[in-house]
Subunit: 334 residues, 4 copies
Amino acid sequence: MIIQLKQDIQEADKLFMEQVLNQLKIEFYPVQTQKGTYLICTPKQEFDIRKIGHLKGINDVHRVSGNHKMVSHKWKVDRTVLDLGDGVVIGDGNLSMMAGPCSIESEEQIDKVVEALKANGVRIMRGGVYKPRTSPYSFRGLGMVGLKMFYKACNKNGIKIITEIMESSQIEDMLPYVDIFQVGARNAQNFNLLEALGEIDKPVLLKRGISGTIDELLYSAEYVFKNGNEKIILCERGIRTFESAYRNTLDLNAVPILKEKSHLPVVVDPSHGIGLRQHVAQMALAGAVVGADGLLVEIHETPEKAATDGQQTLDFKEFERLMTKLNQLKEIIK
Amino acid sequence: MIIQLKQDIQEADKLFMEQVLNQLKIEFYPVQTQKGTYLICTPKQEFDIRKIGHLKGINDVHRVSGNHKMVSHKWKVDRTVLDLGDGVVIGDGNLSMMAGPCSIESEEQIDKVVEALKANGVRIMRGGVYKPRTSPYSFRGLGMVGLKMFYKACNKNGIKIITEIMESSQIEDMLPYVDIFQVGARNAQNFNLLEALGEIDKPVLLKRGISGTIDELLYSAEYVFKNGNEKIILCERGIRTFESAYRNTLDLNAVPILKEKSHLPVVVDPSHGIGLRQHVAQMALAGAVVGADGLLVEIHETPEKAATDGQQTLDFKEFERLMTKLNQLKEIIK
Amino acid sequence: MIIQLKQDIQEADKLFMEQVLNQLKIEFYPVQTQKGTYLICTPKQEFDIRKIGHLKGINDVHRVSGNHKMVSHKWKVDRTVLDLGDGVVIGDGNLSMMAGPCSIESEEQIDKVVEALKANGVRIMRGGVYKPRTSPYSFRGLGMVGLKMFYKACNKNGIKIITEIMESSQIEDMLPYVDIFQVGARNAQNFNLLEALGEIDKPVLLKRGISGTIDELLYSAEYVFKNGNEKIILCERGIRTFESAYRNTLDLNAVPILKEKSHLPVVVDPSHGIGLRQHVAQMALAGAVVGADGLLVEIHETPEKAATDGQQTLDFKEFERLMTKLNQLKEIIK
Amino acid sequence: MIIQLKQDIQEADKLFMEQVLNQLKIEFYPVQTQKGTYLICTPKQEFDIRKIGHLKGINDVHRVSGNHKMVSHKWKVDRTVLDLGDGVVIGDGNLSMMAGPCSIESEEQIDKVVEALKANGVRIMRGGVYKPRTSPYSFRGLGMVGLKMFYKACNKNGIKIITEIMESSQIEDMLPYVDIFQVGARNAQNFNLLEALGEIDKPVLLKRGISGTIDELLYSAEYVFKNGNEKIILCERGIRTFESAYRNTLDLNAVPILKEKSHLPVVVDPSHGIGLRQHVAQMALAGAVVGADGLLVEIHETPEKAATDGQQTLDFKEFERLMTKLNQLKEIIK
């Protein structure tokens, strides 16, 4: 059960309400986000909403059965729309493209990608500066130096930045330069990081765990929301299976199911989802067709020379062809 | 290595060729299909094709590295096109729809589906008469009685029939009534059945195993081809993973990869691939977008009353809407 | 619900009972095995057993909730013990060893294995004559010629034979020479084969499917039992997962769970379960420790020269060492 | 390639060596642990060790092919033995028991467990104070308050403490009270945490990821080692598969394979590995039989009242019976 409080609720009314809940022996969690004030209740038995619905300061009370509360479609019927400023919006029914290299490498590299994005009307650039790598002997990213470079080039071109964060201690430094914080598949259940990201006021894109279930992804989102941040994007990026003909098994089933269960926008990453450059565009189109709100695509001027993930990265011509096809799809998708 | 022989090769030339191969200690398998005569060679070392290329009766010699031979795209560059007669073709670049109920139930049921197919220009009807069921206490299908009913209704309407076969002993009875024999996921590696289907001259649709790899699906096709039947269709129908929010994980990655590795047509079954009626149409569209040659969709007049699989079956209106969307997609896909 | 009938029930009493069930609208399946006569009932609602318990000819009535009926531990508390004759018993609380080569290759090979078995007091020999192979170009086994060889050598030494059957059409020829029919992982849901094996009076060992669930394995056993054969052995042989450091993931969890759910004996195949010769013995010991009724182990005089599966096959010395360790474990296991 | 330097190597010799490697264009990573000083080299081509073997200050040079370096058995033949003080040792060939509740709940609870451990000669107690939970609405542990309680009770009884850490920021506070830091399955690839734990001088137990591969577990260990901490324990705790009859699939195959690939001690967690109290003891015995250096077992005075994981927790009598059986196994295992 979710009790949505009035924004201007009096402290005394709030306290009274909490006393009532305590008397009724209903466990509750106060949640204060950018957009609202809530009490999440997890009553053990069926509970008659009328017992509290009349209390002062309540905006609305929603029954939310099931395990997920704040991220559930059951209480919030309208889909969440994220406004990044400068006309960049995610979740409004249009397909939001996020493209860029796996790793930020150099100013020159960034500039070239920015040009390619502008040529295709893309407003969000991806690029890693902290790279989680299976082996400690692999390239780990340029860190804050890279992020500042990244910011400089994007900022003057009205391009928004999405980049991965690996630990809560990085938030403070990264915050001024990042528009969307990405949590990678390996950190999908790093609850300390999720809670820390719940305390900021910038969108957080959550990648599904390497073998994460749809339920777990929603719970991870619940962690962010419960700590105060409603600006969440869910991302399907392929799961681990026994198949070895490609990198991951892109689970497009997850898209309509996530959109049915949750009000949050859903993005597809076809680059990691298949891991093979020659097939990325087809999987991107499929992602759009099943209802994704956005696509996260790896592009690079010369994929074969990319510091990381070159084998799944599109070059600019391939990306342009993909954008053309996506534009043709637009009417059909709606 | 595949040696493609001339159709009119003299028996003496063939014998001589086999003697040469024996002398060169190259293991070979003679294959005689509806369309050609081949010697499949599996030499253990690198082999100089010129040592045999000049022999009489040879049409062509193809180097085919990798494990799959006859089904590989490496020797047969042109895609396989299957002509079922009466203008029904699979693999020619158009999307072939195969729709119908999970189980054949009654004449009335069949007639209604036939009408729905005709209204949408669909030429192939699916319907099970032998049903592999996990539990022996479930409905097992109407058998030959059902198949004859099925045939009667389809034949007079120019509709082709695809239905599942479970054991080689059923071939003889079923052969006159079936246009495409379907091998189910549970029989994907029933090699005796595959070999028996290699001896007939009707198309065989092979579903990927419940947790079958792409490689295994191609090997299963190789069994059919090697025994003499080139008319094979590959079908992606979802794999088993840890996710329980839906029935199977539809692996759309498999479609471009199968088409890259093999010359055989590839069909997608979104009904089993997600198992949830409300999402089947979206997954069907995605199947078309990633390059499927056809779709296998479960439809029924009243899905909620269907003998089997009702929860993943479209009603006629939902099917019509899907067909409209698929038609809109046509130009983009090409 | 399982109604166990008296062996000497009168036909009239049986008919009357069926009429009563029909009147009560309870679906039922008559089952006649080597050991008993049963009516399996699948009532849709809660049902008061007293409504039928008094009828003539009834031995016992068991409530069996859950999906599995005949194979369930709920109605049959005593564990099933299989007597193969000549003092060879499976499921009596002792560990039954079944060892031998993956493939039967020659008389000489068989004789050597037989000697090794006798030296270690092993009474059941495994050996394949029909080999299900992923690729059609692999060795497929010696067929009936091999089976007869196998029988000749074992019969005179009091050794029982377990070998794989691939299709119901093989039963008739194989029956005189086989003591236990093995159904391989790829045929775990070949329901026609399972039903055909339900009609014979010899034990059937069912391997779990390649990614088969515990439930599915029990359902496959239910098929055999329902068709009349109570002599069933369940076999855990490893499942397919994402891990590639070994062949299959031996699921030893399955052993105590199968023994909890079912009264049937459970056997472990450590050879396929890990697929690496140097680790087979350790996994065999673990299988014994978790409660297996038997072990199925691949042995060969010279594993490196074996026609198939040499990389997971023990030589005779390794096997002897394993037997010594297993004997030491005996007291602890009980 | 691993260059093991002399402990008393002169700074000048070290610099010279690095210059030589730079000239040879060999990438290298200096590693300084509690026990040694190393240069890890990842040459791209075959490299003749003699080119550097004569340099001053080198103790030994080891060729280590494969991806794992410091954790590999290839350079360190002797197994790693961890001495926790007060006679508590892990990896010396004896089975090290680590037992205790899932969550630390109260002083009384801890005292009772301590008594049970002492009665069975167990020297290491497990107990969570920071609990990673899928849902933010679940019990999250008592934190530092609980850890201090835990320490007080154990310290006076000579019992060592293993407990989970979730974020690097917790290390400083926890360090004085913890003997072994456990990294949970969800943090198996939290590289920032792993690196931070590489900087302390206390043992780190790494749980395999929820669907982590054996390779990935070794890489995670490599992160800790490379950052300076050689005191690492690997832990198999079950992987995620499609099977739902139990909690996780305990992968006992992983034990002999980890011990073959790495010199680090390997521990098995049968409690999470099967997740069902009635079967934990059997899986624990199996873990011992396949060669585990230790077992991590959940116990509680009254499992049904435990704050978390009660369904997989042994009571004290069950634990005592398990210890008795493990003692009986001792001779056979060796």
